[in-house]
């Protein structure tokens, strides 16, 4: 029982610390959004990757950065309607 409790605590700790740590009720929408946001953040955070994309689209890195940030607001479309 103690082990289970500790595991639970550890999980909660992780969830508090890192965005997108999953739990039993993670929906597909949350999961895919997280992956997409993670990827987008990674593209912004790695200079070569940002430069690669900015060259492809022929615009400055700053503009590419804003576009990627904008995409992070809703990366996979609106959430599904709640089913009662």
């Amino acid at each position: 029982m103690a082990d289970k409790l500790r595991a639970q605590q550890q999980l909660e700790n992780l969830q508090a610390k890192y965005i997108g740590t999953g739990h039993a009720d993670t929906t597909k929408f949350e999961w895919t959004s997280n992956i997409a946001r993670d990827s987008l953040a990674s593209y912004i955070g790695h200079p070569p990757m940002l430069q690669y994309m900015s060259i492809g689209t022929g615009q400055p890195r700053e503009k590419m950065r804003i576009q990627l940030l904008e995409r992070m607001i809703q990366p996979v479309g609106p959430p599904p309607k709640e089913q009662d």
Binding site: P48, M49, I73
Partner: protein
């Protein structure tokens, strides 16, 4: 404060401890996390001495994430949030927020404190607004737009970079740059600490920067996003100008309201003056190592840069040389010396040239002219000339030594005798001098019979022959002696190169207890006959700062360097290197005030002390081959004098940055280069270039013509409506107007400086032929029309067309990314003219998808169309399809490589697939038989051997995959590939899988990779170029022992040489996939920069008999045997 993109924000307090020491301590962080919030920009505000406030641009997406209708998403607001760090409570509080323009992307600090307003400047699309923490009032400026024929008047700009500059007395201004590169100056009108108005006007146009820095000394550094970085001198602050000033009174504070957009006209630089360039290859788009100009070592050809600032670069491992003088000699010269008349002269007086059978003496004055009455023997060849003692010169020639006492040079009487007493020492009968070495106080000569005679300087500067002499059983090839060390009577050692392939050190120190004069102290065996020796003290890492080095040049073109012990004269620390297929000669020179050695073989090399790490380096010079050289110092120049046949040249290396061992040549290109294809026989390169969201040349010209016509018509109508009495005034206006027009056409605004006009969804694309060898320029350009862009290229000799050479270009029309779409796709074929310098359109073929990869294959063309692999032959009007493998890979074929019948197909996201071509059946078959287990977003690939592929991916990894031996054999067994077709697909892929051999994270996206040799006589290595300008090599290990040592050393250095930020090396190099079978050379080379104690202790921890010098030696040979 440090803010993550999402949620996390941490604040640290830095405090200075103690009064005198400057150590800074960092507090533990305070968190102000805000979940489901994106941070666009974070800024520390200037609030004077109050509690620090941070301003952040945030977007809260929690509502949009919870609203299925999608309405909330459109109503997402951007907020400017203020966080205050309460220093008293050690706590961060949220101070409030204001909704700002939805497009805001950047903040700038507004100075606060004494009568200054404080606050932030918030920039967004077409918007520069001023916000204050407590006050509601907002001032807004719109970003002025470019006026011009090809510019879209409705296009709004963003600010992408900028800087704040505060002047003495509290005044301040901003330089803000738009995405076009235009820099605007923004100033504030302030009255008693309150902002009244903001002003903006056009300042100048510089390349788009990722950061602009204004220095106190009046310079502007532009860290441009692509291409060379520039340093500008600030000529004026742009306060006196005739630009139109726009002020915040003109614009509504809400950007959605209508207003008259401001316009301005671009013009050449007025306030800035470019003074310095920092060469920068980033971004490298494609690269090839080839030996086009037929030099000893291949050159690195790269295409780099973006937009109109793109360049084609030739990179060599060489030092650039500045040529000062070039003059003709009457006859071929074989050697050259310079000499002073007296020991304390500042400049050289004589240039002595040894011609075929006599000696020519030149005197350096205001002009260089033949010296009369120099006293030097002219009717013989010369072996050496040296200023000797106080005021003497000695000339060593095959039959003896001439010792000349000089007379001070008289300016008025050039015919005056330049010498006093002459003494000749003659060789014993039937013998001649074969080699000599001399310094200011000592002379050694070697006779054809194998004896070495030693002379020292007497009290009256005359020659005194020593009683001791050495007798060797072998012929002597060369002698060398270092200069007299400061404060000494003479050098202690003599270096001798002997005919038995040895190199010896002899003692010259009369006080040496162990050795008599000309007694041997050191010996080294050589691989070939020695040809020349240079023996000098050079700066290095030793505690004394200088050590004696002997450089030996062999007949085989190999250079050997050895460290000579200052006291015992023993030899150690050998380095060998092949310099070129000709005997190596030396010349002692001085570069940047430090001694250096010029090694002359098929090309000149310089052995010098690296200014950064103080180790000895050896780099070729970017110069033609030289026969002989000597240092040269006159009143007007200081440098190196060299002879080459009948040419006499003076060059200098003093301005060269010795820490940079690469030299670049560059040629401007029109658009962002995408691919580079070499026609090695004709020494030209074909480059395909394309720019997205850019107006193409044809439309640009058309718009310009239209505008010109309009202007003409207007001028005409004005002329017609003119009243006669008004004419004088009008005329003046008109002439003014014309002048302006002239200015514009004459000094046309080049896209290199001003960029190309941007239009959403348009492509500008062209094919250029570049000659990097003879003309060093672009020699032919073909513009693509109809919004087409070139995506791939290959050079093919079609078998069906008598092996005529064609240039195939893959073209996409109306190409768009995210989502990927296009209207049409073609393969265009251009016929290459016999000299390779012209391309002529032959025909084009519409295909199903943009061909992102083309490759010449068995006299045909193989193309990757989407994920289909198709083999084409050349027809009269179209390409003819010969074979096809549909759905060959998962996503899109991006690269193709071949050996024999095997094709390696690289996919955009699914690594590589091996395909075999079977041409004995009809129709031909292309059968994919092996693919990879890991999705690698391949950017480039190269076949390291028939079974092995090395490639790079978009995330910055380099990997090597190999086809299992059995699979490889099976694929080539049958003629028709029947059994390969029968193989069952495995897990939705090809029937077999490739094995991973090596994996490495490079932190730069590899854009090109090649198996090649990089230096003359070097083995082949894997050479790669990264997007950010990295040029790197992978060197294969040849011995298990070396591998073990390097592995242990890497393991050791991981712990001992931790980076300052504490990132774990193993985790870093395994960023996406665990590192495998690669040793980080960059880390291992940190060993070389360590102190001697550290080196010794690390070397002692290695298994096997390693010591510091042998480890160091191994690291150097690992690098220098393959690369530079």
């Amino acid at each position: 404060m440090m803010a993550a993109i999402e949620k996390d924000k941490l604040v640290w307090t830095l405090s200075r401890t103690g009064q005198t020491d400057v150590s800074i301590s960092i507090s533990s962080p305070l968190g102000v996390h805000r979940p489901q919030t994106l941070v666009y920009y974070a800024l520390g505000m200037d609030v004077g001495y109050e509690n620090p406030i941070f301003a952040l641009l945030e977007v809260d997406y929690s509502e949009s994430d919870a609203d299925p209708s999608g309405e909330a998403f459109h109503e997402v607001k951007k907020e400017l949030s203020y966080y205050e760090l309460d220093l008293g409570l050690n706590h961060v509080v949220h101070r409030g927020r204001t909704t700002v323009d939805r497009t805001a992307n950047m903040l700038f600090r507004v100075p606060g404190g004494n009568d200054l307003p404080s606050g932030v400047l918030c920039c967004g699309e077409d918007n520069i607004s001023y916000y204050h923490v407590y006050e509601k009032e907002v001032f807004r400026l719109a970003i002025p737009r470019r006026e011009g024929a090809a510019e879209n008047p409705n296009r709004k700009r963003y600010i992408v970079a900028g800087t704040l500059y505060t002047l003495k007395g509290g005044n301040f201004f901003y330089l803000l740059q738009t995405e076009d590169g235009d820099v605007f100056k923004v100033t504030f009108d302030i009255k008693s600490g309150k902002v009244e108005r903001l002003n903006i006007w056009y300042f100048d146009t510089i390349p788009v920067a990722s950061s602009i820095c204004l220095l106190r000394a009046g310079f502007v550094y532009c860290a441009s996003e692509a291409g060379d970085r520039l340093l500008y001198e600030l000529e004026t602050l742009g306060d006196e100008h005739n630009e139109h000033v726009f002020s915040s009174d003109q614009f509504p504070t809400d950007p959605t309201e209508t207003y008259n957009p401001p316009y301005f006209q671009v013009r050449p630089l007025r306030n800035l003056n470019p003074v310095e360039k920092v060469a920068n290859m980033s971004p490298v788009m494609d690269m090839e190592v080839a030996n086009l100009s037929m030099e000893d070592a291949p050159q690195i050809y790269t295409v780099s840069g973006t937009g109109a600032r793109s360049t084609f670069r030739t990179t060599r491992n060489a030092l650039d040389v500045l040529e000062l003088v070039d003059s003709q000699l009457p006859q071929r010269a074989t050697s050259v010396w310079t000499a002073k008349l007296r020991a304390n002269d500042e400049h050289d007086t004589y240039i002595v040239l040894s011609l075929v059978n006599h000696t020519l003496v030149l005197r350096i004055g205001d002009d260089v002219e033949e010296a009369q009455h120099s006293g030097l023997l002219a009717e013989t060849t010369t072996l050496g000339v040296q200023q000797f003692g106080e005021d003497c010169i000695i000339q060593i020639h095959p039959k003896g030594i001439r010792h000349i006492r000089t007379v001070p040079y008289n300016e008025e009487d050039p015919t005056q005798k330049m010498y006093g007493e002459i003494t000749d020492w003659k060789t014993p009968a039937h013998r001649s001098i074969v080699a000599c070495a001399a310094n200011n106080r000592q002379v050694c000569i070697a006779l054809s019979s194998g004896e070495i005679y030693y002379f020292a300087c007497d009290y009256d500067s005359s020659l005194a022959q020593a009683e001791d002499e050495a007798q060797l059983d072998h012929t002597i090839h060369c002698l060398a002696m270092p200069d007299v060390p400061e404060g000494r009577q003479g050098s202690d050692f003599l270096a001798v190169g002997c005919g038995d392939k040895t190199f010896r050190i002899f003692n010259l120190n009369p006080r040496d207890q162990d050795h008599r004069i000309l007694g041997q102290t050191g010996l080294m065996g050589l691989s070939a006959l020695p040809h020349a020796i240079a023996f000098h003290a050079m700066k290095d890492q030793s505690p004394a700062g200088y050590s004696l080095y002997a450089h030996v040049g062999l007949h085989s073109g190999i250079y050997v360097r050895a460290l000579v012990d200052e006291f015992s004269g023993t030899l150690s620390g050998f380095r060998r290197r092949f310099l070129g297929p000709a005997p190596v000669k030396f010349a002692r020179v001085s570069v940047g005030g430090e001694p250096a050695i010029l090694a002359l073989t098929t090309r000149p090399w310089l052995a010098y002390t690296h200014p950064v790490n103080n180790t000895l380096a050896l780099t070729p010079l970017n110069y033609m081959s030289i026969e002989a050289a000597w240092s040269f110092e006159s009143a007007s120049f200081k440098g190196i004098i060299c002879v080459r046949g009948e040419d006499l040249r003076i060059v200098t290396l003093d301005d060269v940055d010795l820490s940079q061992n690469l030299s670049y040549e560059q040629i401007s290109l029109q658009y962002t280069p995408r691919k580079l294809v070499g026609n090695h026989e004709q020494q030209v390169y074909y480059v395909i270039e394309s720019d997205n969201n850019t107006l193409d040349a044809a439309t640009r010209d058309q718009l310009k013509r239209e505008q010109d016509e309009k202007v003409k018509e207007e001028v005409k109508s004005e002329e017609e409506s003119e009243d006669k009495p008004m004419k004088t005034a009008e005329e003046e206006d008109l002439t003014n107007g014309e002048l302006e027009n002239d200015e514009e056409t004459n000094g046309e605004l080049l896209p290199v400086d001003f960029g190309l006009p941007k239009v959403e969804g348009r492509w500008a694309s062209c094919i250029q032929v570049v000659d990097p060898v003879t003309e060093k320029a672009v020699i032919h350009t073909i513009e693509l029309r109809n919004n087409q862009c070139a995506v791939s290229a290959a050079l093919i000799a079609f078998e069906s067309k008598d092996n005529d050479l064609f240039f195939a270009v893959g073209v996409a029309q109306d190409l768009k990314f995210t989502p990927y779409s296009f209207s049409k796709a073609f393969i265009q074929l251009y016929k290459v003219s016999p000299d390779g310098r012209k391309l002529e359109f032959y025909h084009d073929t519409e295909v199903s998808a943009p061909p992102l990869a083309l490759l010449a294959f068995k006299g045909k063309l193989i193309a990757g169309l989407g994920n289909d692999l198709v083999l084409f032959d050349c027809g009269l009007k179209h390409l003819l399809r010969k074979a096809q493998a549909s759905n060959c890979t998962g996503t899109r074929i991006t690269d193709l490589k071949t050996q024999g019948s095997r094709i390696v197909v690289a996919d955009q996201s699914q690594s590589v697939t091996y395909v075999v071509h079977k041409d004995m059946v009809h129709p031909n078959r292309l059968i994919p038989f092996a693919d990879d287990t890991v999705p690698r977003w391949t950017t480039c690939a190269e076949m390291a051997d028939y079974d092995t592929t090395v490639g790079g991916d978009k995330f910055g990894n380099i990997w090597i995959v190999r086809c299992p031996e059995k699979v490889s054999q099976a694929s080539d067994e049958s003629e028709d590939g029947q059994h390969l077709i029968q193989d069952k697909a495995y897990l939705g892929g090809a029937p077999n899988r490739l094995d991973l051999c090596a994996h490495y994270f490079t932190n730069d996206i590899p854009t090109a990779i090649q198996k090649t040799n990089l230096i003359a006589g070097g083995d082949r290595i894997i050479f790669w170029a990264g997007l950010q300008g990295t040029l790197g090599v992978f060197v294969p290990f040849e011995s298990r022992r070396d591998h073990k040592m390097f592995q242990q050393l890497e393991l050791l250095l991981r712990n001992e040489e931790k980076p300052i930020a504490g990132r774990d090396h193993l985790a870093y190099r395994s960023y996406y996939t665990p590192i495998k079978n690669v040793i980080d050379g960059d880390l291992v080379e940190r060993f070389l920069t360590a102190s001697n104690d550290e080196k010794a202790s690390w070397a002692a921890q290695l298994d096997g008999a390693w010591d510091a010098s042998s480890v160091e030696d191994k690291i150097w040979t690992m690098r220098l045997n393959f690369a530079f």
